[in-house]
Every structure is written in C-alpha cells, then in structure tokens.
Symmetry: C2
Subunit: 137 residues, 2 copies
C-alpha cells in the first residue's frame, strides 16, 4: 500500500516525504564489536517492513543518541520530527513504519498518542517542530 492508497482508503490526506532515519552505528554496550551492527540490522528490517507503504527508510551514521540506542527518527514534510531510543533490531521495525504512517496522516503534524505503537511512547527521546513552526502553533 502506498501513501496514495492510504489517502484513498482512509479519506485523509497523507503527507509527502514520510521517512524513517535509522542509526546504523548503534549497538548496546554488551554487543560484540564484530559482526553487523544491531543498528544496521534494524535499518534493514525497517526497509523490509516499509515495502509497498510509501515510507522511505534512510540509513544514518549517527543520531547522537548513543547512550540510549538503538535509535531512529521519524519525519514527514511539514510535521514535527520525533527521535526514539531503546529500540530492538528484531522487534521494532514494524512499529517505526506504523509510526511514520500515523504521522503522515496527522493533520496537525503531531504524532498522535492514541494508536501509537507502545515502543514509540516508551522510547520517545525528543521531538522538534517543523521548520515553519511559529509560537502558538
């Protein structure tokens, strides 16, 4: 299903540019130094989960959330940006894609609390307003 399909299906306007940024450098303190980084494994799983959804998955070297990894961020054009931590490579790919799709359908550009996957509640690290934000929005 593409974002256009979501729009047709749910009678809402889906925003363009829904993107999940996944830190590919992240690992937990007790993860081995060799082998693929858990962050990279999360990025690959998220790309797999994104197939057919219209959500882009972008690998990033570092989101600077190292002490609370694994890390990822969500953003659509014109929305707030959300940073998450405490993610697991083998558990949270679908939640990230579901979050991106929720955000793409949010008229106010804010990721709704209701219906948000639990890890995107517990793991919220920070949020930043869109570029055209003005006080009082």
């Amino acid at each position: 299903m593409t974002l256009t399909d979501i729009e047709a299906d749910e009678d809402v306007t889906a925003r363009a540019g829904a993107t999940v940024y996944v830190c590919v450098t992240c690992r937990k303190p007790d993860d081995p130094d060799d082998g693929p980084r858990p962050g990279l494994m999360l990025a690959r799983a998220t790309a797999e989960a994104a197939r057919g959804t219209g959500v882009a998955v972008c690998q990033v070297e570092c989101l600077a959330n190292c002490s609370r990894s694994l890390s990822a961020a969500l953003r659509c054009k014109g929305t707030w940006t959300y940073v998450f931590g405490g993610l697991e490579a083998d558990r949270d790919a679908e939640a990230l894609i579901e979050g991106a799709r929720l955000l793409a359908r949010a008229e106010d550009g804010l990721l709704p609390w209701r219906g948000r996957p639990d890890i995107l509640k517990r793991g919220l690290i920070a949020r930043v307003p869109p570029f055209d934000f003005t006080e009082g929005d």
Copy 2:
C-alpha cells in the same frame, strides 16, 4: 551583528533560518510548581542574547526531553537539527546563540565539535539530518 554581517566579516556564507527552539515548559524535579518555569526563563535569556545576531528564538511548549531538561534545539535551513538537554536558565543562553551562529556558518550543515561551547558537547541529546539528506551524505 546580523548573519549578513557574519558573512561579510568571516568570508563564509551564513545560512538562512538560524533558529533556537527553547522548551518553555521545562523545569527540574526540585523546582517549585509556582513562579515562572525555568524553561521560559531560558527562552527569555536566549532571546536577549540573540539581539542583533540574526538568530531567531522560538518558544515551544515541549520538546519531549523532559527527563533531561532544560531543553533546546538548534537548526538552520538545510542543516542537521541538534537537541540539547541539561541546560541552565541563568547560564546557557549565550552558548545556544553561539551554537546557532556556528551552525549557520557550517558549510556541511553539521555543528562543528571544535569551537562548540562545552554545554553543547556535554548536553547533546540527539541530532537529525536535514530533510534533503540522502545516505552517504
């Protein structure tokens, strides 16, 4: 000094839209419930420090970095976005403006480590790429 002055003065191109977002809801766990929020006091001090610099200061209700407040974020058009925590209302306004000016002069859109005020090293919470970021940037 405006960003145009910075450009003339330092022979670099300053980016547009240098903005500091300050969370006005933030307070420390032991701060009293009444009286102005420390976050609001930081926002006011930062606006004062920004005078004549060309840096915009924007008050935000919540940056969702509550457990490591006080909180602020920096961004210019086309740069990475940086979120900081552990700020102090009576200490860190100048550092935020200095950070915004450094970022405005950064050709690669990354806040340089060298010359960065110490609190913007210690207090880094997360960073997110610009909207037009692609893997390999």
